[in-house]
């Protein structure tokens, strides 16, 4: 097992080095596509980190993404870039901690609705502030950041997220979360501080999402609440993670990559029937792959080797 882990590590490192050379291809379209792939990979993985083990379905991805983007819109021209990212991350973590403390006692559908409302709440707060206080709606982000820079930052973040997820899964926190996901009452009786565990992971996952928003913001030059808080992101990330399988760290990638490529193919080839085809594909996913691609792999290897049952739980 140790040799296997080391092999996987080397493989991941090699892939990382290889991916770092994508901007050298010199084709802006492939770079844009790669940025899109990384963006959704990080978002879906971060989403799965919290929602996978705890089974809390969150629609707040957009809220944190938007906080990151807006931090850049406000501070991007004033402060040095690393500091802007740091402030964005801190802001995202702060909001997530408050939201987590006040809402993770909710469960099931109440939590879903709350997180959806949260995006709208934050968006309206931003609008209210801009309209009544700063009296500008729509900010310009002119920072000296190239597309390749955006790509490399996202790549670094991707590596960090996987490392973090791997560490958490091996920590007491990761174990506590899996117990919570199976049965929260039992977890409490075992002496697990369920609130702390949930809030901690929610905060970590939200901080990553905030950073993605901050890194992506310089791509658009112009940011207004409807651009930064576009609720489509929440739904796309959710469906990607579900397709991939959120119960595994590497599951969401299996959804994010094919779906991003599919969106791209559809909007390039069928620009006018995009939404219809997309709807049909979502239906197919939900009916045919209820446990995602990761679940399918496990099922296949289980029937092939008959030994996977123990690993699914581990």
């Amino acid at each position: 097992m140790n040799a296997r882990a080391a092999g996987l590590g080397v493989l991941a490192l090699a892939a990382l080095v290889l991916l770092a050379f994508v901007p050298r291809l010199g084709n802006a379209y492939y770079l844009a596509l790669a940025i899109s792939l990384l963006q959704y990979t990080v978002l879906a993985t971060a989403w799965g980190m919290f929602s996978g083990p705890t089974r809390y379905v969150s629609l707040a991805t957009t809220a944190f993404f938007g906080i990151g983007a807006y931090t850049v819109a406000v501070l991007g021209e004033i402060l040095p870039w690393p500091l802007v990212l740091l402030i964005a991350a801190a802001l995202g973590a702060f909001v997530a901690a408050i939201v987590g403390l006040s809402t993770l006692r909710l469960s099931g559908v109440y939590f879903v609705i709350f997180t959806f409302g949260l995006t709208e709440l934050i968006r309206q707060l931003v609008v209210w502030f801009e309209v009544n206080k700063s009296r500008v709606l729509g900010r310009y982000v002119f920072v000296d950041i190239t597309q390749a820079d955006i790509y490399w930052q996202l790549l670094a973040l991707t590596a960090a997220v996987f490392l973090l997820g791997w560490l958490i899964a091996r920590s007491r926190l990761g174990f506590a979360l899996r117990v919570i996901g199976e049965d929260e009452t039992v977890a409490k009786h075992c002496g697990i501080n369920t609130t702390f565990a949930k809030v901690a992971l929610f905060t970590i996952s939200a901080t990553v999402m905030t950073l993605v928003g901050a890194i992506m913001a310089p791509r658009w030059t112009y940011i207004e609440p409807s651009i930064a808080f576009n609720s489509m992101i929440s739904f796309q990330v959710l469906i990607m993670a579900l397709l991939g399988g959120a119960h595994r760290l590497w599951g969401p990638v299996l959804g994010a990559v094919p779906l991003t490529l599919l969106f791209e193919l559809l909007s390039a080839r069928f620009p006018n029937t995009f939404t219809i085809i997309l709807g049909c594909i979502f239906l197919l996913i939900v009916y045919m792959l209820p446990r995602g691609v990761a679940g399918l792999f496990e099922k296949l290897s289980a029937t092939a080797g008959g030994k996977a049952t123990g690993r699914v739980a581990a």
Binding site: A28, A32, S36, V131, R135, Y140, Y222, E224, L296
Partner: protein, 408 residues
């Protein structure tokens, strides 16, 4: 299950490959100018794009191709269109443009609809050296953007200019003793409303107008009756609404119902839409709004007729950005023809320095922006004429006070 999915995907891929190959074969058989655009066919921008942008792009391509194409040197080559849906999404718009440039290798790009998306695609078009004729963007940073991106042309001007022109008109009307000095102003809490109201506020105060009412309302407000009732109680001479199409319609309807009929009644985006006349008929008489055109000019009359003949269901263009959009396409064509080959840097240069014959008259850009705009229009006898700035060719005299509302 998996085999089903894979087979489906494989079929899809095969079909698209076949389609692409087919298209490529056709493209190679003839020389053409490839023009690409990504436009909002879905999402919140759809309404604006469907009225102002798409019909003009289609009309222009149809007309140019009917005439044999764009003249390059001594032969004419037809336009070939590649188009995508940006789904009203900034990220999607940027990516679609990168696809147009790097994959489809288009020769020229037509801009998306709206201020936000035009700003979003600005850096990409600048980096790749494509001319960017933004005909549907109103931003106060336009002069600065034109400097930053010398390939970009801001055809619709700045919101500060819009507000200033409106206040100048009001000032003149007050000097002529046609109106008093109480003004009620409402604005939508979105980019457009905020920009215009923050430019109009100081301009009105400096001109010693009394701002009796000054409030904003959120996007999607359904019930605007309380606003109109409050404003009516103040009995202002002038009512200004920096509004978007849905609330432009709602505010007008509410005012008619409440019998609120100030001497000057001005509403924002949407007033210049044919839809507005369709809904209010005779009641449009005397209503002012943003935009306008020289409705008496033969070029505009001819453009209106061609647009009606070409668009689906004989739809009419709006009386503000539509003609400007069409004019920007004429400018692009004339610049390409003067250069005589696909040389984007030379075309940009020609757009910066040349002068152009268009449906909105002769256009010569200064610092990548036109020198004349229509900022205030008024419905007069079923047509939305430009009334300010008064120095513009074809400016009509304002009808003040506005006639009373009639029963529909």
């Amino acid at each position: 299950m998996t085999t089903f999915l894979t087979r489906r995907t494989a079929l899809l891929v095969a079909a698209t490959c076949a389609a692409t190959l087919g298209l490529a074969a056709v493209a190679q058989a003839q020389t053409s100018i490839k023009i690409g655009y990504a436009i909002s066919r879905t999402g919140p921008n759809t309404g604006g794009a469907a009225v102002t942008t798409i019909p003009n792009y289609e009309l222009w391509v149809k007309e140019v191709n009917a005439a044999g194409g764009i003249k390059l040197g001594d032969k004419r080559v037809p336009i070939e269109v590649v188009q995508y849906d940006d789904r009203s999404n900034a990220e999607e718009a940027v990516r679609a443009l990168e696809r147009l440039i790097n994959q489809d290798k288009v020769d020229f790009i037509l801009p998306p609809w709206g201020t936000g998306l035009n700003l979003a695609v600005g850096p990409t078009l600048n980096r790749e050296g494509y001319p960017h004729l933004a005909a549907t963007a109103v931003t106060d940073r336009a002069p600065e953007l034109a400097k930053r991106w010398p390939n970009s042309f801001w055809m619709l001007g700045t919101s500060a200019d819009a507000a200033k022109t409106l206040v100048e008109l009001l000032n003149k009307l007050r000097d002529e003793k046609k109106i008093g000095d109480t003004v009620a102003m409402v604005s939508i809490a979105d980019g457009f409303g905020i920009d215009l109201s923050s430019a109009a506020r100081p301009a009105l105060t400096n001109a010693k107008f009394k701002l009796a009412y000054d409030k904003s309302y959120p996007i999607g407000t359904q019930d605007l009756a309380p606003i109109i009732n409050d404003v009516k109680a103040l009995n202002p001479d002038v009512f200004i609404a920096f509004s978007y199409p849905p609330d432009t319609l709602a505010l007008t309807e509410q005012s008619r119902i409440a019998g609120f009929n100030p001497k000057v009644f001005y509403t924002g985006v949407g007033t210049a839409f044919p839809l507005y006349r369709g809904k209010f008929g005779k009641n449009t008489e005397g209503v002012m709004g943003i935009g306008g055109w020289s409705g008496d000019s033969p070029a505009i009359k001819d453009y209106l007729a061609r647009h009606k003949a070409s668009a689906a269901n004989g739809a009419e263009p709006d009386r503000w950005a539509s003609a400007v959009t069409y004019a920007s396409l004429q400018m692009l064509q004339q610049a390409i023809e003067r250069v005589g080959k696909i040389d984007r840097a030379a075309v940009i240069k020609d757009l910066q320095t040349g002068s152009f014959d268009t449906v909105i008259g002769k256009v010569k850009l200064e610092n990548n922006m036109p020198t004349r705009y229509w900022w205030v229009g008024q419905w007069q006898d079923g047509e939305f004429y430009g009334i300010a700035p008064a120095g513009n060719e074809g400016a009509r005299k304002a009808i003040v006070p506005k006639p009373a509302w009639v029963a529909p």
